[in-house]
Symmetry: C2
Subunit: 333 residues, 2 copies
């Protein structure tokens, strides 16, 4: 079996690749199949320090997903499973409308069209987002709550969902769409996602640095650890199409927490001095977008299909410390 | 004020043009403005018999909406209101996937992009459809029921809705989306819409011809007369953007009727002999698609904004007889 991951140099892409190589196989349509090769595609090279990059099954390809020729060449290997994670993130898509359209809609469509032309019907796992919801929302999002994105990123993800659903219905691909909660704690540097601060306020203090929180402590978010997100992606790839029925899109279980609770839990885990490194400075641009995202779901379909949330906020912080902390937890003045 | 209608040679397009020319003005953003010119665009020429085609304010343009140059040239006049009605209809979009994508998504997007480039923010009325709904639906569609199209036409209309909403949110256009009920009774010839039979079973018998009904008598539909649909389009153009809030898409009021009730009412209006001209021959392809469309709505937002349904099924049949009947109602053996 061959696997392709777009956005493979990103946080989820590289963690997913490592997990897949460790497991060595996936069960597709009732048959367990060995992973023979895995292509990691991204515009950037993955972090060179990662040991899984030495794996002989791995192929790293860099390029531009808005180039149709690049996509055709990627699909020549006829991947059995495609994890399409590449995206222009929320803040960037809001600031650069054309870039967001080109990557989040056009490249997704070219990928789908190339699958269609190939006639191979790969399992196609597409990551959507809670940003597809917005406007006047119920307190708790249900599986049948209408999408109403209030950002261009959310609109583009919602369009991707519709495409993946129809291409699946027509048998061009076998799609699965996960509306991922905000992934927290992301290791590394802040990125252009509007939600980037939610990782920073835990990651930076733990590593001895200051962090700025641009939203109020009462702001609630629906979050998931990178470990759980990777688990969900692998689970999605292995679902049976019949179990998805007439709708390939799933809102995932997550944790509903306020930003204040995140900082309090950080204090529980690492002490008041660490948590004190968070500075509160509201940014209206970020607060408006994050405030439009829903923070509480009743994701019954996904739960029934076996998707899970992290056990607790404490767990989620400890997952970062175990999996991604660079250098030991330390207290600095 | 300049107005552009795409799909202007179609049923709604030409009825809308006639109505607009008769009224002579529209109230936009609180100001009544005279209609100086109206461009009817379509791939086909409108029916030459129509007297409004002689109106000096009218300009008829034929061309291909998938040609970006054509769109740019259409928008050079900087229309204040665009009614974007042009579409590849449901049955055709299901059978010819590429054509549906090219017209229903790509041409819509080019139109929106050209508006964006012009910087003029026209009122943009886009016709969507009940085909955006599907799958496991509640008995009554609510304003916040999620879209889940089960046809490529429905998917393409849902994508158009998302685009119109985001382009409006960003101020590139001032969009309004109407999810039109199935328009019944359409005059003229049957078309490639999956719902075409719903007009045929009233129109053909009234005009002395046989009609085939490809769905069972119990099949329910959500319908609206052409006259009421045109009324709704004009009302939509004149709404204030503020009244639409964070969602430009509206499911419209309509009549929920079974196909059997339609034929019974035809018998009431025109006699048993006329109604007897309907032959029942189920077509599984059509029945599957029509059966996936919802037939009962609670469109509270649209009702509050002043949109209305036809008064009764009898009215709807009589509107056809008054507005569109070719030749007198007659009984033939």
């Amino acid at each position: 079996m061959h696997i392709l991951i777009t956005g493979g140099a990103g946080l989820l892409g590289s963690k997913l690749a490592r997990q897949l190589l460790e497991r060595g196989s996936l069960e597709l349509d009732g048959t367990r199949r060995e992973i023979i090769s895995l292509t990691l595609f991204d515009r950037a090279e993955p972090n060179s320090g990662e040991s899984f990059l030495e794996d002989s099954r791995l192929k790293v390809v860099s390029g531009d997903l808005t180039n149709a020729e690049t996509i055709r060449s990627l699909l020549k290997a006829a991947p059995d499973v495609i994890f399409h994670l590449a995206a222009v993130v929320s803040g960037e898509a809001e600031k650069n409308f054309e870039l967001g359209m080109a990557v989040n809609i056009d490249a997704t469509r070219t990928l789908l069209e190339t699958c269609r032309a190939s006639g191979t019907t790969p399992h196609f796992v597409f990551t959507s987002s809670v940003a597809v919801y917005g406007g006047e929302l119920p307190d708790v999002i249900q599986d049948d709550t209408a999408l109403n994105p209030q950002s261009s990123y959310g609109m583009q993800k919602a369009v991707g969902e519709l495409l993946v659903n129809d291409y699946s219905r027509r048998g061009f691909i076998d799609g699965r769409v996960l509306r991922l909660p905000t992934v927290v704690v992301r290791p590394g540097q802040p990125n252009a996602a509007t939600s980037s601060f939610a990782s920073s306020i835990i990651r930076e203090p733990l590593q001895g640095a200051q962090a700025v929180c641009p939203v109020s402590a009462e702001t609630r978010m629906w979050i998931m650890s990178p470990r759980q997100a990777v688990e969900s992606l692998i689970h999605a790839a292995q679902l049976r199409a019949d179990d998805l029925g007439t709708n390939r899109s799933l809102a995932l279980p997550g944790l509903s927490v306020s930003v204040g609770e995140m900082v309090s839990e950080l204090a529980e885990v690492a002490g008041q001095e660490v948590a004190g490194r968070v500075r509160w400075e509201t940014d209206p641009f970020i607060e408006r977008i994050v405030g439009s995202w829903p923070a509480q779901f009743a994701p019954r379909r996904a739960s029934k299909l076996g998707f899970k949330a992290d056990k607790s906020l404490r767990d989620l912080i400890e997952i970062f410390i175990q999996d991604d902390m660079q250098g030991p937890l330390k207290v600095e003045a």
